[in-house]
Amino acid sequence: MFEIAAIVIVLGAVLVLYRAIKGPRVYDRALAVNVMGTKTVVLLALMGFIYERPHFLDIALVYALITFIATIAFLKYRETGGLD
């Protein structure tokens, strides 16, 4: 059951990857990367259940934090040209 869900989510991530490669603008790519981040969090949680290792959830939590900060930092860099 969890394996099927994980495979379906990976297929969705491949679709989003198409948008990240195609573009056409940098904002489309940033949006695609942001969505991929959410999918990765869900995938990590599912993998924790597949391999029966609850510590994967901590990784998922930290990954959610990192994706958000990465998106905001990238946008701030685009807007102001620096991170000060």
Binding site: A5, G12, A13, L15, Y18, Y27, D28, V42, L61
Partner: protein, 105 residues
């Protein structure tokens, strides 16, 4: 078969459906602003359903509390990140796509 496993299966199936629809929407929609709609909404609901399915499977324990923290966090963060992206694109002067041709300029 356990009733809890059935509920988990239904929630996982619904969540995967919404996540895949969000991906299709991001590929299909014509411009950046309409691509934000699936990214902001369907992805949020999809992760809510999948992770609450895992919560039902696990029962009440420390693991499900962690799952709840992840759900609430993504619920706050995902619309905020979408909003930040939209604002950056709007400030940079990206024009939205319109249905009628010739009205775009």
């Amino acid at each position: 078969m356990d009733i809890r496993a059935i509920i988990t299966g239904i929630l996982l199936a619904l969540g995967c459906f919404f996540i895949v629809v969000a991906s299709i929407g991001i590929v299909r929609f014509p411009d950046f602003y309409s691509r934000m709609h699936p990214a902001g909404k369907s992805d949020t609901l999809g992760q809510l359903l999948v992770l609450s399915g895992l919560m039902v499977y696990e029962g009440f324990s420390l693991v499900s509390v962690k799952l709840l923290i992840i759900i609430v966090f993504i619920f706050i963060v995902n619309p905020t990140a979408t909003h930040a992206l939209a604002k950056a694109a709007y400030v940079s002067g990206l024009k939205p796509w319109k249905k009628e041709k010739g009205k775009n300029d």
